[in-house]
């Protein structure tokens, strides 16, 4: 039973072959994806990889994250120990003993300590899955107490125990210096000798146990979710650098397939993502659709892509039509086994919460939009409410199909001037809600009043303003978005617009991020940013401190916060207007919970599960606010509707501009 280099070499060859074949099978499937360039700005990518992969920044965001941190770093450090194990198994001279004694001792000391930490880490992971499994560990396709998870944990535990057995045996044999290996020496002294274990047998058996566990792990790795050990670090390097809500443009030519309707129409990076998923469940836990019982679970979507790719691999390699469809017709749910349900695809609010928590930078939402593009553009298959929405936008460039001549009706008695290049500084991009929605028109008036009070020179496009196209794009109607964005960009260029202020985070993000793809660089500000700077510079002075709105609770809009990192400005505005920082939701800032209307959900019915806005309003009511403060027309509608449904009583909803305008009244 002593180490046998020849037998070990045969086993290693076997295990390495299984590993290489498994990796080849998966990576060659990734290569079937469409091209995409992900090596630009290598410096920024590298430092992000250091933070996310090696610093485990997002992993540490959850209670058991520290445990993973320990296991991760143990793996990195023990990789050296295991490399030495493999090398010395084949060639006994290639061992640590070849190193100068102080260095050898230092390394052994480190390995000994780290092995104990890893063992504790694994035991905690075991206990967590056995005794306190969070619901997010389980999904439709795998449970927290899955045999796979326990198998992997057991393998790691066996590796550590065998490590200690091997070294305790060697210490007892006198072949290793106990001073370098405190833990192993402790075992040798307190277990091996008193229990009368034969040191040479212990060392030999432990050596083989260690060898077999290591080789099994290697062979099993590519077949399991532990593939992430190989893909997670590169995925953190390859992740998107642009705003994730800005999807790439599409080319429209006859005979081309649009969007993604087949798994090989994804890019290689999309496919690589699917092999990087660690099944941690963070996306599932944070997704507003999943949290309210919809058929969408972002984790299942990623898993469906992976299983679809694996199941269709043979056909795809042969250039044949894949037998398993990527998209299941409406009504089916996404179980995560091979196909994504259409109903799930339509449930996404594109809020980006999933992507903000994914520890390995998987891009869920862009994949959903790509599949929507296919459904809308190639199949004209979408929830039927959207037909009206699309037709209204195409015919009248607003979601409700109201005559464009009514865009200026919000003016009332206000003096509103048209934007004129050279004479006007800011274009106030009113937005469809700001121009047509009865409630939001009050916000537009409040904003106009503020701009006038601060002496800002501003103008509008009047009846010529058109929809920014945000919902169109998130819903996957890229063809109509493309035409509308081109028209808007040429109108803005023709009028000489440079600086824009919007009251809608969706217009804001579309103009600022999406339109850049059409060759126009605009200085776009959300009204919260402009008002915050006007208040800070003293250009806008309030006549009084706003106290009559009571306790204010601020709700972050996804497209302002998560998608554009504007968190401070609205809070500064509210603090300046009321003299105190607003109260916060439990889920706030980057963890904010969507109102339910983004991603074109505003224009669809919400029949599945609990309504997202009710979930958020319940959370709001627990903070006992007098006023829920928003910065987005969708949020305004959703919060007001939710409060009505839940009999929120006297709780009001105000846009932050309305709060400031209150302070302008004498």
């Amino acid at each position: 039973m002593s180490p046998n280099p020849k037998l070990f070499a045969v086993l290693l060859l076997l295990s390495a072959s299984v590993f290489v074949i498994g990796c080849y099978r998966r990576f060659s499937l990734v290569a079937l994806g469409r091209p995409e360039y992900r090596l630009d700005s290598a410096g920024a990518r590298f430092s992000r990889m250091l933070r996310l992969a090696f610093g485990q920044e997002r992993v540490l965001g959850k209670p058991f994250g520290a445990n993973h941190f320990v296991i991760f770093w143990s793996f990195i450090i023990l990789a050296v120990a295991n490399a030495e194990f493999l090398a010395s198994a084949l060639l006994p001279q290639a061992s640590l003993a070849a190193l100068p004694t102080p260095l050898q001792h230092a390394l052994l000391f480190l390995f000994d300590l780290v092995s104990l930490l890893a063992l504790f880490g694994v035991l905690i992971a075991f206990a967590r899955r056995l005794f306190f499994p969070e619901p997010s560990l389980s999904s439709d396709y795998v449970k927290a107490r899955s045999p796979e998870a326990f198998l992997i944990l057991s393998l790691i535990a066996v590796l550590m125990l065998a490590y200690f057995g091997l070294h305790a045996g060697r210490i007892a044999l006198g072949s290793e210096d106990p001073s370098a290996l405190p833990i192993s020496a402790f075992i040798a002294a307190n277990l091996v000798a008193p229990l009368a274990i034969v040191p040479s047998t212990l060392a030999a058996w432990s050596w083989w146990l260690h060898a077999l566990a290591l080789l099994s792990f290697l062979a099993y790795l590519p077949q399991s979710k532990h593939m992430h050990i190989l893909t997670a670090i590169p995925n953190c390097f390859l992740g998107h650098l642009d705003r994730p809500n800005t999807q790439p443009r599409e080319e429209f030519a006859r005979g081309m397939s649009l969007g993604v309707g087949r798994v090989d129409e994804f890019t290689w990076k999309d496919l690589f993502d699917s092999f990087s998923c660690t099944e941690c469940g963070r996306c599932q836990e944070t997704c507003p659709a999943a949290a309210t019982g919809k058929s969408l679970n972002p984790r299942n979507v990623i898993h469906a892509i992976k299983t679809n790719l694996l199941n269709n691999g043979t056909a795809l390699r042969a250039g044949e039509k894949p037998p398993l469809p990527l998209l299941e017709p409406a009504g089916e749910t996404t179980s995560g086994e091979g196909s994504a349900g259409e109903q799930a695809i339509w449930a996404c609010t594109t809020c980006g919460a999933c992507m903000s928590v994914c520890p390995v930078l998987i891009e869920h939402m862009p994949k959903i939009v790509k599949m929507r593009r296919h459904l809308v553009q190639m199949k004209a298959s979408f929830p039927e409410e959207l037909t009206t929405f699309f037709e209204n936008i195409e015919a009248r460039s607003n979601p409700w199909g109201i005559a464009p001549t009514e865009r200026t009706k919000w003016h009332g008695t206000l003096q509103v001037r048209p934007f004129e290049a050279g004479k006007t500084d800011y274009l106030l991009y009113v937005g469809c809600a700001g121009a047509f929605d009865a409630r939001q028109k009050q916000v537009t008036v409040a904003l106009a009043t503020i701009l006038d009070a601060a002496g800002i020179s501003w103008g509008t496009l009047g009846k010529d303003e058109r929809c920014c196209g945000d919902s169109l794009r998130r819903l996957g109607n890229e063809y109509v978005f493309e035409r509308s964005a081109r028209d808007n960009v040429s109108l803005l260029a023709e009028r000489g617009v440079k600086k824009i202020v919007t009251q809608c985070p969706h217009c804001f993000s579309a103009l600022k991020n999406d339109y850049r793809q059409y060759g126009i660089e605009l200085e776009v500000m959300h009204h919260s940013e402009l008002i915050a700077s006007l208040l800070a510079s003293g250009r806008l002075e309030l006549k009084r401190r706003v106290a009559d709105l009571g306790r204010l609770l601020f709700h972050d809009s996804c497209y302002l916060g998560r998608h554009n990192d504007v968190y401070a400005a609205p809070r500064q505005v509210l603090a300046a207007a009321t003299g105190a920082a607003p109260a916060e939701f439990v889920r706030n800032g980057v963890r904010s919970f969507c109102c339910g209307a983004g991603g074109g959900r505003m224009w669809q019915e919400e029949q599945e599960g609990e309504r997202i806005n009710l979930n958020r309003v319940r959370e709001a009511l627990r903070q006992k606010p007098d006023t829920v403060c928003v910065s987005c027309p969708y949020c305004l509608t959703m919060m007001e509707d939710g409060l009505k449904d839940l009999q929120g009583g006297a709780v009001k909803v105000k846009d932050l501009a309305e709060v400031v305008a209150e302070g302008l009244r004498a």
Binding site: A380, E384, I402, P404
Partner: protein
């Protein structure tokens, strides 16, 4: 069998205003749309194509820019699109219009037997609901107006059964082909075009037939062939409405009052 669908390009009437001084329609800058009822007619024709494999031809009489409307029909899947456009067709009333459309259908019938002609119930600009019946009369087809459901179609036997949506009731009618149907909005939900079909339609050509092709007597078409003309267009003065009940104090009572009022005026059927 050929299915012919007649569609009209109309000004988007929600955007049309009447010039208070001249009492004429202000059409400047007003976009054109496919007459909404005709969009349902087109959808019904396409559904027959999907079910029975019939060919579908779309017909429209109008100025050259009405080509855009026919392109939309092509994008939705019609096989052939024909624009009937000639200065001598201009200024036509419903009678003269139906003569031109009937002749065009007759020409199509010579190439392939026409079994069904579908029109919208009426247009949103003229609101006469006369062109469909006019075509049926000129062609001697059975006319089935206000159809909200094609219950049965037997191409072999040449018979069709439809449901007509009448005031407060439905009527099931069976008739021999060829027939002309006019459809109401409830008949279907029009489909949305796919992008490949849009791109195909951009490249496709719309045939233009003038009176050279139709060879109609000029005294029966256009302004000359139109016995009716519009003498004046004006907006009626809207009377002030009434407030029913007290919605703030007694919303349930107000709702009941409102429903009673609507039922008594035959605006709501319970």
């Amino acid at each position: 069998m050929l299915v012919v669908v007649c569609i009209k390009q109309v000004p988007d009437t929600t955007q049309v205003q009447i010039d208070p001084v001249t009492n004429t329609l202000v059409r400047e800058g007003i976009p054109f749309i496919v007459n909404p009822y005709d969009a349902h007619a087109l959808e019904e024709a396409l559904r027959l194509k999907d079910r029975f494999g019939f060919r579908v031809a779309a017909l429209s009489m109008g100025p050259p820019n009405a080509e855009a409307t026919l392109k939309k029909a092509l994008a939705l899947g019609v096989d052939e699109a024909i624009l009937l456009s000639d200065r001598v067709f201009g200024g036509a009333d419903t009678l003269a219009t139906s003569r031109v459309l009937s002749e065009a259908i007759e020409r199509l019938n010579q190439q392939e037997q026409v079994g069904i002609v579908i029109c919208g119930k009426q247009t949103i600009d003229g609101d006469t609901a006369q062109v469909g019946p006019g075509i049926a009369t000129r062609l001697g087809y059975t006319q089935l107006t206000l159809v909200d459901l094609i219950e049965k179609l037997d191409p072999q036997q040449g018979r069709i059964t439809v449901r007509r949506k009448l005031e407060g009731r439905h009527e099931i009618v069976e008739a021999p082909l060829p027939v002309l149907l006019t459809v109401v909005r409830e008949v279907n939900r029009p489909r949305y075009p796919t992008v490949p079909m849009r791109l195909e339609s951009e490249a496709a050509t719309v045939q233009v037939w003038s009176n050279q092709e139709l060879q109609l007597d000029q005294n029966g078409i256009g302004l000359k062939g139109s016995p009716t003309w519009v003498s004046r267009i004006f907006s009626p003065q809207r009377e002030k409405g009434e407030i029913v009940g007290d919605g703030a104090a007694d919303p349930t009572g107000a709702a009941h009052l409102l429903i009673d009022r609507l039922v008594s005026r035959d605006l709501l059927v319970v």
